[in-house]
């Protein structure tokens, strides 16, 4: 029985809070927000119909605190909570508490999160149902023998927290000598990030492609896929460029991988939006990697090519409505690409950067979408994830989408904090990227992309002049020196 919402609480921050809020309001619903004091200058606070402060021992802790979120939901008189991604989005205990409080969680059922959120359980389920899974995975059911069993899988190994996601705590181990130490650290990280120190290990496959499939299910047993996204360009196991369609897939293979994803979601009686991730090898074989039981960062490229607003569909499904389209209605039109704008310095091994955003100007133009969570004057700190915004471009062809992305990067203005825009442009301009020859180790294989190009002498002189004529102490020192010819100042108009 459909149950319409009046107020939706967005339990997140940054660009995804703005993104969800936009659809909530476009659907004529009231949009409420939570925010920690560290985010008081964020645009979502003023964009919401109601913004409720939450607190915690750390800023991140506030957004992870189920009590704080539920208190805010009550205060906002919310009917439903949209978790965005990260934080509480894949926390089954939270989902149950939301239901116990008489509210609707805009996402999958807790049983689906229990099943798919645990990599070990998910892999077992998918394997038993006859879908392809990664070779050589073992589970941590006997901690005492784990290291020995991990070593038997063979090096290089990939260690992951069993409850993990987003690349947190993942480590490649290339030799037996480093294994024990890496297991200890990965356990500690898993415990801290996910409250679960159990690990999962598999043989690391070199040069794989990351291809994932968007799925959407309703509460009436209907499941469709919304085609694939390729997210092979990653640094530290985190995606930075995502696109659809994948340049690697021929139509037959595309249909096969997308149908497999939909079948896995159907087998799990999945409802709401989710993503089935696969590792795809050069020879065309693919295997199940994991299922993300949430809206993903890269969902806008799917929206661009299908014309479907995924957040709106999430909300409708959560209200109990049936999907309004069937599989044959979902078409890919053109090509879309997303670039993640990070506050980071690629030349320093992608270390995060901090600073105040002194100038911000977002690009506009045909086929350009910007999902941003920052505004001018806002401080970028180390307290949160360094992703500031996403640039999404759509074109008739991959070439046009890339050209529009480069145009958008050139017109993306952010001063006061280092960002990865110049690096992204070098990446898009790389001939191998243009040919679609990408894999998850692409950036390691092309380290020159991360390096800052040398500064030519004309540019350096212009920079020195700009800094010297802007810095008050430098101007004062120059003025303090007597000059026979009177000066009227640096700013000659």
């Amino acid at each position: 029985m459909p149950r319409p919402f009046r107020t939706v609480l967005v339990a997140n921050r940054g660009e995804i809070a703005m993104r969800v809020l936009r659809t909530v309001k476009a659907m004529g619903l009231r949009g409420a927000m939570v925010y920690h004091a560290a985010d008081r200058d964020a645009p979502a606070v003023t964009a919401a119909d109601l913004a409720i402060p939450i607190s915690g021992s750390t800023p991140v802790g506030a957004y992870l605190d189920a009590n704080e979120i539920l208190r805010a939901a009550t205060q906002a008189d919310a009917d439903a909570i949209h978790p965005g991604y990260g934080f509480l989005a894949e926390n089954a205990a939270f989902v149950r508490r939301v239901a116990d409080a008489g509210l609707v969680f805009i996402g999958p059922a807790p049983e689906a999160i229990d099943l798919m959120g645990d990599k070990v359980r998910a892999r077992g389920f998918v394997e038993r149902r006859g879908f392809p899974v990664a070779p050589s995975a073992i589970e941590d059911d006997d901690p005492a023998s784990f290291a020995a069993r991990a070593a038997k899988v063979g090096f290089p190994l990939l260690i992951k927290p069993s409850a993990g996601g987003g690349g947190k705590g993942m480590r490649i181990v290339r030799e037996a000598g480093a294994l024990d130490d890496q297991i200890t650290r990965a356990r500690s990280e898993g415990q801290r990030y996910f409250g679960d120190g159990r690990l999962y290990v598999e043989r690391y496959v070199e040069r794989p492609r990351h291809i994932e499939v968007q799925v959407l299910g309703d509460a009436h047993g209907n499941v469709v896929h919304l085609w694939e996204r390729e997210c092979s360009v990653q640094r530290r196991f985190q995606k930075i460029v995502e696109e659809t369609p994948s340049p690697a897939l021929e139509p037959a293979k595309r249909n096969e991988i997308c149908a497999t994803a939909a079948a896995i979601a159907r087998a799990a009686a999945y409802r709401n939006a989710g993503t089935v991730e696969f590792i795809y090898s050069e020879d065309g074989t693919f295997y199940f990697l994991e299922m993300n039981t949430r809206l993903q960062v890269e969902h806008p490229v799917t929206e661009a090519v299908t014309g479907i607003d995924l957040v709106a569909e999430q909300i409708r499904v959560a209200m109990g409505e049936r999907l309004r389209f069937c599989q044959d209605d979902v078409r890919q039109r053109g090509h879309a690409i997303e670039l993640r704008i990070y506050a980071e310095e690629p030349a320093r091994n992608y270390a995060p950067a901090t600073g105040r955003i002194l100038r911000l100007g977002l690009p506009e133009g045909p086929g350009i979408r910007v999902d941003s969570g920052v505004r001018e004057g806002q401080q970028v700190t180390a307290a949160f994830d360094p992703m500031l915004a996403k640039l999404i471009t759509h074109g008739d062809s991959r070439g046009e989408a890339i050209a529009r992305a480069r145009f958008a990067l050139e017109h993306f203005v952010l001063l006061g904090c280092a960002i990865n825009a110049a690096f992204l442009d070098r990446l898009l301009a790389h001939p191998a990227f243009a040919r679609g020859e990408i894999h998850t180790g692409f950036l390691d294989a092309h380290p020159e992309l991360a390096a800052n190009p040398p500064i030519d002498s004309d540019t350096m002189l212009a920079l020195l002049a700009a800094a010297a004529l802007s810095q008050p102490q430098v101007l004062d020192a120059a003025r303090a020196v007597p000059e026979p010819h009177a000066s009227i100042g640096a700013w000659r108009n």
């Binding site: 530290r236 920079l463 700009a466 010297a468 000659r492």
Partner: protein, 169 residues
């Protein structure tokens, strides 16, 4: 007066002097007439020896951020305060201080001020880029000061711990 500027990892010396109605930049033994003109749309013109570049500029404290209109290239120039340089050259050797390699969060502090540590011992565990990193003692010594506490976030180059070599005072 000589000034020191940092562009990326490069340190560059230059001076600014008055010349007639304007200024000149002295760098590498050459003198370049320079000017900075504000345009109406928030952009500026940077002129060096007659060569003009259009840019957007923002400034905070000792940092000048420049974005060239022509190609969208962005750069940050830091003016290095001579007082800070002097302080570092004098007492309190930088060799004694572990600085944050990148912004992050303190996970654990495993030593106390006054405690003796041996080379290789973990003093502080930090988390940056979703990975834990142990800050280990780079020599035998005594913890002179802890500059951070668990849960605290820090910026790049922030001092974390001061470790004095044994026998020093």
């Amino acid at each position: 007066m000589h000034h020191l500027f940092a562009i990326g990892d490069d340190k560059i010396e230059a001076s600014l002097v008055r010349r007639g109605r304007g200024y000149a930049l002295l760098h590498g033994g050459c003198e370049y007439p320079v000017a900075l003109r504000a345009l109406e749309d928030g952009e500026v013109e940077i002129e060096v020896a007659g060569r003009i570049s259009r840019a957007r500029i923002a400034r905070e404290r000792d940092d000048t951020f420049v974005r060239f209109i022509l190609n969208g290239e962005c750069h940050a120039v830091r003016w290095i305060d001579p007082l800070v340089r002097l302080a570092q050259a004098g007492g309190g050797s930088l060799d004694d201080i572990a600085q944050a390699p990148m912004p992050g969060t303190v996970i654990a502090v495993q030593v106390k001020a006054g405690e003796s540590v041996t080379r290789g011992q973990t003093m502080i565990v930090i988390e940056s880029m979703k990975l834990e990193t142990a800050i280990v003692a780079w020599r035998d010594g005594v913890i002179k000061a802890l500059h951070v506490s668990p849960g605290q976030t820090f910026d790049r180059a922030a001092p974390l711990v001061t470790l004095e070599a044994k026998g020093e005072e």
